[in-house]
């Protein structure tokens, strides 16, 4: 199978937007923040057609920024995103409708003053996927598809519950007939009982429409459930990539292992409370990331090498890759021994 969505060495640097005055002040040694944040550094990924790639990591790791870069909402500082051979961005603006996004907060992502039917119809009319006269039936068909009653098209967002709004947001994205769907924490703001409904809808739609998707979430159990492969991010870098079952079953990067270890599990059988592993310390500030491997100050396996040089992503099997010195060493040992 060939790669359909490819993300090629993409980086995003957010620098301070300095006024001339501030620039002069900085030159003269004034207290002006001149450092920039590398929200995403040198990320290379490829997703096959019909595949769902999960993107996990803690807040501030760059997963949402990466999602926005793939969706063409943000122009990357360097690198490029290509869908089916065609670039998403040209000269800093989005030139395709083949990728659409579903955002986390359905209360913020829908225009409160627009009837939801018009919200869904707006994009397809603008891009001539439907005409003004055919729009009502076009919208109605997408409403049905996502489990909403088509008679609701004339209502406003505030008349819907969180789960229903997320369905509207999904309908709006799908009405653009995308090939790639970016879901940025689509169930994070929903109640547990509603979460299951939306996850089921996502699984059904991606399968039936043959969508390629990137599913961003901090909730590991959700990602494990919906994804084929998963990429783990830490401070803007991908530290591990591989098929869900393998990465969750046998994490190769110490961060992945620790992250999975610190997720509270549903304890069904233990009469006694379980002990769960915790990661020492906190995520360092992306304004001044540590030297070498970004994870080394928190890593129990860290050695001098880890503090000095940055590990690169390396293939450890057909489908898996990891960026860790420790893993290189383990492998070298295994080969020489």
């Amino acid at each position: 199978m060939s790669d359909f969505l490819s993300i090629d060495n993409v980086s995003q640097i957010f620098g301070p937007n300095l006024t001339t005055g501030e620039k002069i002040a900085a030159k003269l040694g004034g207290k002006v923040e001149t450092r920039s944040v590398r929200a995403v550094s040198d990320v290379t990924l490829s997703v096959r057609k019909g595949e769902t790639l999960g993107l996990v990591g803690e807040s501030g790791c760059g997963k949402s920024t990466l999602g926005r870069l793939i969706a063409g909402i943000l122009p990357p500082t360097s690198g490029k995103v290509v869908i089916g051979g065609a670039p998403v961005m040209k000269n800093g603006s989005k030139v395709t409708t083949r990728v659409q996004t579903v955002f986390q907060d359905p209360f913020a992502s829908l225009d409160p003053r627009m009837k939801v039917g018009n919200t869904v119809a707006e994009g397809p009319i603008a891009h001539t996927l439907t005409t003004k006269s055919e729009a009502p039936s076009y919208v109605a068909s997408w409403f049905e598809r996502v489990g909403l009653d088509p008679v609701w098209v004339d209502r406003y967002p505030h008349q819907f519950s969180g789960g229903q709004r997320q369905r509207i947001a999904i309908a709006r994205a799908l009405a653009m007939q995308p090939d790639v769907l970016i879901c940025d924490e689509p169930v994070a703001s929903l109640d547990v009982s509603i979460q299951a409904q939306i996850i089921n809808l996502f699984l059904e739609l991606t399968r039936d429409l043959g969508l390629t998707s990137v599913f961003i979430s901090h909730d590991l159990s959700v990602v494990q459930h919906v994804s084929d492969r998963v990429a783990v991010m830490y401070l803007g870098r991908i530290v591990e990539l591989g098929p869900v079952a393998q990465v969750f079953g046998e994490p190769a990067h110490p961060y992945t292992a620790a992250l999975f270890g610190s997720v509270p599990k549903l304890v069904l059988d233990a009469e006694e409370l379980v002990h769960f592993d915790t990661i020492e310390g906190e995520v360092p500030s992306p304004l001044s990331p540590p030297s070498g491997c970004y994870y080394h100050p928190r890593c129990p396996l860290a050695t001098q090498t880890c503090g000095a040089t940055q590990p690169v992503m390396q293939q450890i099997s057909d489908l898996r890759a990891v960026a860790c010195h420790h893993f290189e060493k383990q492998q070298a040992d295994a080969i020489s021994g």
């Binding site: 803690e58 299951a196 409904q197 959700v222 919906v226 610190s262 549903l266 059988d269 769960f276």
Partner: protein, 327 residues
């Protein structure tokens, strides 16, 4: 079981709004023993936060406690005057809120805020207060605590801020702490650190805790006892392990089944149909009936709590393990 520190009987907190009477908490009862952690689980709007607020007497108009009793160390709280209640709040019972950014005053240093919290109930010199504050910050896992007392909230990360809020809640060694989703806004790795510490603190200090959460997994790794709320009522309560392994109320069973962790990857999740009802237009009888597969006409009358082997459920047609085997 050891001594009961908090006993809540038939608590009803209603909000009298222009649109009608909102029964946010409608007949909640539970007991809490010294050092015990109880998880209070439910979806948004189920009344778990209002229950917590009611315990501390923090319900504002148009809401008020219309019925029921809250006994803290033998004292009835619902009939106390504001002044008498204030002297207990923070000293005998305290609360940790979800959002540590909103909890702390951005204009005061951590040390100043902790001193204010101490002064509210005790006469303690500056030096002594500082030592106490530093001690507690250390206890909740803040490194170089004495120096950090001079820092402002914005200099702390989210996790550290929540630790400060926890330290403030612990200042007077209260008998009960109500923790309202204190780790929801935090990352999993920080959440794990805090959960672990809270468990130890409860054990060491004998402080009992009510841990309000929508996340069954969090609660299951922390609380020994569980109460599941739906539309203002506790629909099921009991020991955590028993309740999760063998839920009786169809809502509890549905919640557990709908978690991705309990399903095969990629397979459709068991879903509870429909949405949480509006508290303004609750169906008569069991509020869960419209979403329940087991409901019959009988469910339009309200089921009482069936109590059996130190657990209870409010349902005419409870789920049991035997059902699932035969089904």
């Amino acid at each position: 079981m050891s001594e009961t520190v908090l006993s809540v009987k038939n608590l009803r907190t209603h909000f009298f709004t222009r649109a009608g009477v909102l029964k946010a908490v409608d007949g909640v009862s539970f007991d809490l023993a010294k050092g015990e952690i109880m998880g209070l689980v439910g979806e948004s709007g189920s009344g778990k936060t209002v229950t917590g607020f009611s315990l501390l007497g923090l319900v504002d108009a148009p809401g008020r406690i219309v019925e029921g009793s809250i006994k803290l160390n033998g004292t009835e709280l619902t009939t106390l005057s504001d002044v008498a209640l204030r002297s207990r709040r923070g000293r005998e019972i305290s609360m940790i809120f979800q959002d540590p950014i909103a909890t702390l005053n951005p204009m005061l240093t951590i040390g100043q805020q902790m001193k204010l919290a101490i002064d509210a109930h005790e006469r303690l010199g500056n030096r002594a207060a500082e030592i106490r504050a530093a001690e507690l910050l250390t206890q909740v896992g803040i490194p170089s605590a004495a120096a950090r007392l001079r820092a402002y909230p914005h200099e702390f990360s989210g996790g550290m801020r929540q630790r400060v809020a926890i330290a403030i809640a612990l200042l007077h060694r209260p008998s009960v702490i109500v923790a309202d989703e204190p780790t929801t806004a935090l990352d999993v790795s920080i959440q794990a650190q805090i959960l672990f510490q809270m468990r130890d603190l409860a054990r060491e200090t004998g402080t009992a805790m009510i841990w309000i959460s929508h996340d069954l997994a969090v609660v299951s790794s922390l609380a020994s006892k569980l109460a599941v709320m739906y539309a203002g009522r506790i629909v099921e309560q009991g020991q955590t392990a028993t309740l999760l392994r063998d839920p009786r109320h169809p809502y509890t069973a549905g919640l557990i089944a709908s978690l991705p962790a309990t399903a095969k990857p990629g397979a459709p999740l068991t879903q509870i149909r429909g949405t949480t009802p509006s508290l303004l237009s609750l169906p008569p009888g069991c509020a869960f009936a419209p979403r329940c597969d087991r409901a019959t006409d009988r469910c339009s009358t309200e089921p009482n709590m069936t109590v059996q082997d130190s657990r209870g459920w409010r349902c005419f047609y409870p789920v049991s393990q035997r059902d699932e085997v035969s089904a």
